[in-house]
Each structure stands twice: as structure tokens, then as C-alpha cells.
Symmetry: D2
Subunit: 291 residues, 4 copies
């Protein structure tokens, strides 16, 4: 029986459900604003109107919602219905701490929690090209693996500790922001030296750093074009705070994360929380007198 | 006539000369310790015993030496012989300031200077896979282009200002060190969270950051293996100092470069200047109590 | 009627009660470990054995306990007894957030909360030389002022907002740590230049920086003597975290506080949380190869 | 015989010469723009019109000029005349490196060099309240001591190494800038918490930090008033660069100095080099959205 509930039909959730349908899963879908489900219903999904209806006793529910609080609320709404033997495949980007708390919450009900955040934008989701992280109890991870494989190109088994996958996801976002700051500073140096900053970006992105992060954000930072937001700076700041909290409680000094934090915070204080997180580069631009 | 002088037969210079010979150039080679030339002589190079003999009046001389001082010395030794109409293709990693000074030095003699540092290790040099940067007067750049194309996979025309290519080269080394620090901190966070740091490295290097810098240095930093040195930390510190000097004189604040500088300097004070520059990561390891 | 309850008989509380007695107040004293009260009873204090007994309906209770949690517990234990018209004069170093919560807690009971942390060590407390900060409702601040004046040399009226005094106290601790880091780096530079670091400390402390913080901590940092702890590094790290939390929620980037945090955190990871907070300087010593 | 030459009649030099005259010294004065000497001539000084005329063979010359280059130029102009047995008492704020070079320059002529920068503004100079640092050969230091004592309230014998006094002077300026950054951040936190930032400044300057640096700069930073310049930010940046150069060559990481440097550099790039160096605080104000 290939049946699954899916909660959260945002820009990521919709193409993910489409891929599940395409791979032959029967999917019950729930979203707070129900209109988002219409296309999926046409494609064969069954729409439900309360989170609990997405959960079958002992079944599997996937969640892909916008933040920690939303995840906590829907989990509290469906966990009793999911009950003993059920598995919650939690794919949102949330804090390790939230994963740890929800893992306990499920444990009290006999169900299990697999943290499974992803790397990839909506286009990658549509193309089944997501990279999928996975942490939680071994058996639960094995049980959800066919679903993960239907959604992405590769699954990484991170740890049994429930927050592990979230730590890796946050670490990845930190590394992206570090790359953006490095580019911002290097491109400014080039511009001040009289070199075309777009050329500088192209050189780096086609030689040492020929990977998507440098290619995509390199263009934005070189071109000083930070809107529309693919991922909002305010969310980057939130993730950076989560990184630093985790680092603080684990006694792991991360001075580069601190540097990024202070610059993201300044960006927010200057009213840029809704811009793309690459707008982090504007601080360096201002400091160099280039904006 | 495809004739050229080549000064500097180190681990980069030797395979570069081999490629020039393979592409049909006649090459006069000079090295301070003449023994290094023996293999090249067998392959068809003509060995000379003073830098000035590598230069034909109005011809082209390539230099690939170890640092700014060595470059200044050999240039002073061959520039008069090169004379009017000659071109010096300077491929060593040196400071923009040195390039600017040598450009003037040549100008006084009617010759021209093209700064042309490369991205790539000896293996890339052997495979003609170097990425080659180029800055200097337009005509001189055009004249040396066939040589550059014989040595690498792509040539980037950076600027007419002689130091431009050096700025881009230094910026690239800065970005590599920034990536290393980011990995060091992210891997430590993973380890302290109970996740295998080698797994963390593999996840990042096969998803968001699937490019050589993250793949190669990621393995070293995850594995805490910093010897033997591919590129010495002391040279990374020197480059970081050049970046900061240039940034200071151009009024371009680079706080991430400052952070890296302070950690490289601490590494040197702890006696690690001869280790691989990825040993920068040991500071973060020590701070986290992981070493 | 000059009657007051006093909870918390540590190294600060004991001399403070003695001063209150000396100034003619009748004092009911409570401490979790009751033995601490014996000297005070001889001096005229009345010992009680539950926090609630220290509170008279509508009266005043002073608290001087070790941390936020201890303050919350004792407050919950005496607030109902204090009741309408009472004032809680809270002199411990706690977070602004704790003050805000306890202000609300009292408000629900008709009592009022005055945050009143102090600058000064036990010797200053004994000499009635404390500097006393004060934030809370105007009338409550006026009512407790005679008590504050009996305890210190000067009272600063900071704000009506209950957390204000705590923000100023935390800011002061941040500024002390900043001074310690500045001295650490300057003394290292002197030592590496061949100058006696104790002489460097003396020069600064008797010229530009002739104030207690530089004189006292200057001697410790110059002499590399970080034990016994006057104030533990772990508590300094806690305060630094509180500063950064407040700064984050108020969108106030504090890069110097971030720098201090990362170095305090490294100190803790290296097992130095129980040393004096001036042991922060050991990171700079290690980085310079001086330890 | 109490005779001395004095070169450099700026805002510091003039009151210093007046004090020398008052203490019974005969003073030959030189300044590039000779008009500055008129008041001193009335007070009894003898004006000369070339630096070499200020020097008597085997005598003493004091210099108080604006920067390293000016010091080198005048020294080259009078050193031959000063000759064997002469002493150059060099009171300008210059780099340790310049002192080391000039010490050698004098040594070649049989004369000696005492580096003797001061702490104190023109008012302190007028009041004979300068603090005077002294480094150089023992006998030369003893010989100039009566002059130093005529000019200040205390003389500190730093080292025999000629650059030592300059290192201490630079370290002091670094510590002042560190204190300014700490105040900037702490006052911003107070303001964002709803506390009057002038009150915050007053609390700190009358309790923990009751010394001139915090009192004077505290008022400026709290009041956001950075002009007219007592000491220009551009000179602060120059000193910070000298600190970092010295730190780099001595392998002494100074991350707090790096932080200050980057903020001073940003200030310069924003066109604030002519403002008072306390305008460093404007970066923190902007980052917090307070300007």
C-alpha cells in the first residue's frame, strides 16, 4: 500500500506532491489555505480539510511547512491520529531543537519522527533533483526511504539523533552565506581595482568555484541585484541565529558565523529583511563606498 | 617564428615547458639550479645559463618563479636584452604592486609586461588545464595569447591595468581560504552534534558545493590531515597580507579577510607555516576543544 | 517604619545586610543554606526559614541571589505574601527578560518590581561604595531609594522600563570584557616587541586608563595570573550571551561583543569556565604563541 | 649648559617650547612655516631658518612633527650638524620602524636617537602634564631626562630597543579606539532599549570607567557629535595600520585591532577621514539603524 499524507502546499510542497503522484503514491493533501490544492486534486490527490485527516493510523505523514511554529502546530493537530506505528517525515527547514522536541512528542504516542530537510529550490523539487537529508530511528528511516527517493536524486543518512539532519541543513545555509560574503568582498576589491565585477564573478564561477552557489549568487552579487527574493534575508538571519545557538550550546566557536550574523542583523536593522539573502552583500558595498 | 624564453623550472614550470614543446614552440629554458632542466633538454628545449640568454631582442620571455623578489631579480637580469618590442609574460603569483612596478620598468625599455597568473596545480599544468588570467596592454596580450592557449584550457582577459590579473588571483586565494574556514566551522558543529564529520564533508561536496575546492579541501579538513603541504600555510598568509594591503590602499573593508588573516597569523605563531594552508582549520578545531 | 526582608546571603548579601542594620533598618533575612545567617543574627537581623516569611504584606523585599532561575524561584515563593502595595527590590545580575517577566508577575498581584543591579565587588559592598542602578515604576523607585542609599555611594535612575537597569549592567560587563581583550592584545604586542608586559600595564593604568578596571585586570593579564576567580569566566560568557540576545532582538549589531563571545566560548570549550573571566586573555596569549 | 634645538611648532610644539623656556632652557626653534615662531621669540626663543641651525655639534635636538615622512626629512637635514655625541629626542608619534631606521641613521654619525612619544593633548602639554615614554640607549635617555621632566608629569623608561616607546604609544591609541567601539555598541544597545544614551555614558564614566578616555569620548559618542576633530579619524586609521603591521611582523594576532581597522577603513571610504576619530562610532550607529 503506497499511501501517504502531505501537509504544506507551498512552492516546494506542490511539485513534491506531483512527483509522489507520478511515482504511484496515493496522497491526501492538506493546506491551511485550501485553494493551493486545486491543481493537485486534478492530478489525482485527495484533498482533506484538517491536518488530522491527512494521517492514517500507523501510516506516514510528510510535512513541508514554513517554520518551526507552523510545524509544531500541525504536528500537535495530527499526531494523535497518526498514533502507534506511524512515522512523521518532517522535511521543513527547522531547528535541531524543534526536531528533538517533536521526536519526543511522537515517542510518547508510539509514533516516530524523521527529520528530513532538503537542499534545492522549487525547480529542483519539480525535477526530482532534491538532495535529501535524513535523521532519526533506523527503521523509520528505512520505511520512508521510498518516499524520499521519489522526491530527490539522493538521500543522505545523517544520524540516529533526530536533530542531525537539521544541523547539516543549517550548516549548509551557513556555508552559502559565507560564500556570499567572500564573493562580496572579492568583487568589491576587483571593482575598486578597476576590474569589471561581473567578469570577476564569471572567472571564479567558471574556474575554482564552478558550482551552483557561486554561479547563481555570484551573478546577483556582481550585478548588485537583490530582488526579487528567492530566499529572504530575514530567514537567513533566523537560520544564522539557529546555527549560533546550536554552536553556543555545543561549545563550538564559529567566528565566521558571528561575522555573518552581525552583517545580516545590520541588514535587517536597515530594513532589508524582505530582500534576497544575497543582499547581505550590500553591507560590504556600503562599507566600500560602492553603493 | 615560434620561439620563447622560459625562466623558472619548478613544479609548475617543467610541465608548462613540456606543453610548449609539444605545441611546436622552440623554448630556451633557464633555472637558477640548472639540474632541473635536464628532462626538458631531452624533450627538445635549449638550456641557457643566464636569464639574459633566455631573452631574444623584441621576443617573448615567460617567467614562473617562486615570489616577488625572485621575479624582480630575474626581470632586472633579462629586461635590457629583451629590449624594445619585447614582451614579458609573467605567470608567477605576485602582488599587484610588483606587477605595476615591473610594467613601468619594462616601459622604460620599450618592452611590455603582461601579468598572467594561473589557477591550477602541477597536475592541471601537465594536462594543459590551467585557467590563465591576463592583464596588460591590449596588443601585448594578443601577442602572448597563443602561448597562453598552449598552456591552459581558458584565458581570461582581465584588464589593461597591469595589476588586474594579480588582484583576481589573490581574490581567488582569499575565497579558497574563506571556504576552508567555513568548512572548518561547519564540520566542527557537525562533529559536536554527534555526526561523522567526513559524512558532513561528503554531503556538502556532492550537493551545494560540488566543486574542486570543497571536494579536495573538504576531505583534508574533515580528516584533520594537513600534511604534506600542497600549498604552504605561510604562503597563504603572505597572499592574505597582500589582499589586505591592496584592500587598505583601495579603501575596501574586508572583514572576512581580516578574520582569515588573524587565524593564519596565529597558525604561523604556533609553528604551522610549513603545513598545508588547510591547517588554518586547526585553529577552529582547537577553539572547539576537538584537537 | 524601617523594615525590610532580604533574601540571598552570599558574598554580596551579607555585607549589604550589615549596612542596612547599621543604618537602622530592621531586617528579616533568608538564605537557602541557613548557616550563612548566623553572623547577621548576632548583628541584629531576624532569621526566617522560608522566603515568604521575609515578606510583609505591602512591604519591601530585597533579593540578591546568584542567577535568573534562583530569582524566579524565590520570587514565586514570596510574591503572594508580599501582595498589593509591596515592592520587590531586585539587586541580582539577571537578564532584562527576567526582569520584564517578574515585573508582570508582580503586577498581577498588585506589587511592584524594581530592577536594581549594582557595580561593585564585596569589598565595595562592605564599604557602602556600590554604584546602584534602578529601573521600574517611578513611585516604587522613590520608595526604595533610602534602602539603595544605605547600600551604595550613588543611585542611577535608568528608566521606567523594568529591564533598563539590567541592560546597563550587562553593557558594563561587556565593556569590561572589551577592555580585557584590548589589554590582552596590547600587552602581547609589547611583550613580542621585547617590552616588559607589566611595565606596559603600568603605563596604561597610570596614564590614559587610570581607572579600576584597567588597574585591576591589567595586573592580572600582564602577570598571566587568572586564578583564583573573582568572577568566573563561565558567568562572563553567560552575560555575553545575554548581551547578544538582547542585541539580536533589538537589531543592534555588536561585532565586538561577538568577538568576545567567540573567545569566551573557546575558553569554556578548553575547560576554563571556572577561572577568572580575565582568563579570556589566554586565547590571545595562545594565538601569539606566548603560553 | 641648558641649550636645546626644537623642530616642529604645531599645537603641541609651541606650549612645549614655552615650558622649556620657563624652566630656564635656551631654545633654538625651527618650523617650516616660520610665522609660527613669533610668540616664542617674544618669550625668549631664538628662531633659526634651517633645521641644521637648530642643532649644535654634540648637543640635543627635540623634534615634534606631524608624521613619519616629515620626521625623516628634518632628521636628514640636521643629523650631520648634530654629529658625534649628539642626541635626537624624537617626540612625534611615528612608527616603531621609523624609529629603528633613524636610530641606525644616527648611529652611523656617532649621534643617538631617543624615541619619546607622549600621551596628552595640547592642554596637557601647556600644563606640563604630558606622560612621556622613552626608549633608546641608556646614557642618551639619562641625558634627555631633564628636558622630558620639564615637559611632562612623568617619564616612563620603556626599553633600550629604539622602537619600544612607539609600540607603547601605538598600543595606547589602539586601546582608546577599542574603548570607543565598546562604548558605541553599549550606548546603541541602551538607546534601542529605550534608555537615554547620555545617561548610559554618564553611568559608565562615573563608575567602572571613571577615566578621561571614557569621560571625554563617552560624551562625544553618546551625543553623536564628531566634529570638530581633536584627532582626525584618518590619523587613527594610520595608527591602526601601524599596529597591525607591527603585529603581523611579530606574529601577534590582534582580532580586535582588525575589527577596528575595518571600521575605520569603512569610515574613510565614506569620506570621514577628517572627522574626529570617535566618528568610528558612526559605523555602529548606521548598522543599528540609528543614524
Amino acid at each position: 500500500m503506497k499511501e501517504v499524507g502531505f501537509i504544506g502546499l507551498g512552492s516546494m510542497g506542490v511539485p513534491m506532491v506531483q512527483n509522489l503522484l507520478k511515482e504511484g503514491f496515493r496522497v491526501k493533501v492538506y493546506n491551511r489555505t485550501p485553494e493551493k490544492a486545486s491543481g493537485l486534486v486534478e492530478a489525482g490527490a485527495q484533498q482533506v480539510y484538517h491536518p488530522s485527516e491527512a494521517a492514517a493510523a500507523g501510516g506516514i505523514v510528510i510535512t513541508m511547512v514554513s517554520n518551526d511554529q507552523a510545524l509544531q502546530e500541525v504536528t500537535h493537530a495530527f499526531a494523535d491520529q497518526l498514533g502507534a506505528g506511524g512515522v512523521h517525515l518532517s522535511m521543513s527547514t527547522v531547528s535541531p531543537e524543534t526536531s528533538r522536541q517533536l521526536a519526543l512528542y511522537h515517542q510518547e504516542r508510539g509514533s516516530e519522527y524523521v527529520a528530513s530537510p532538503v537542499f534545492g529550490r522549487p525547480e529542483a523539487a519539480a525535477a526530482q533533483k532534491l538532495f535529501i537529508l535524513s535523521s532519526g530511528p533506523r527503521e523509520a528511516k528505512e520505511r520512508v526511504q521510498p518516499l524520499q527517493e521519489a522526491l530527490g536524486q539522493r538521500v543522505f543518512d545523517i544520524s540516529e539523533e533526530p536533530g542531525g539532519a537539521n544541523v547539516i541543513k543549517l550548516g549548509g545555509n551557513f556555508m552559502i552565506m559565507a560564500a556570499m560574503e567572500a564573493m562580496a568582498e572579492a568583487f568589491n576589491l576587483a571593482e575598486k581595482s578597476g576590474i569589471d565585477r561581473n567578469l570577476a564573478a564569471e572567472v571564479y564561477a567558471s574556474t575554482l568555484f564552478n558550482c551552483t552557489v557561486y554561479q547563481g549568487y555570484g551573478k546577483m552579487i556582481a550585478g548588485k541585484a537583490f530582488e526579487p527574493a528567492g530566499f529572504q534575508l530575514g530567514l537567513g538571519l533566523k537560520d544564522c541565529n539557529l546555527v549560533l545557538q546550536e554552536a553556543n550550546s555545543l561549545q563550538t566557536p564559529m567566528p565566521l558565523a558571528s561575522l555573518l550574523h552581525d552583517r545580516l542583523l545590520a541588514s535587517a536593522a536597515k530594513g532589508r529583511a524582505q530582500q534576497d539573502w544575497s543582499a547581505l552583500a550590500r553591507i560590504a558595498l556600503e562599507e566600500a563606498g560602492l553603493e
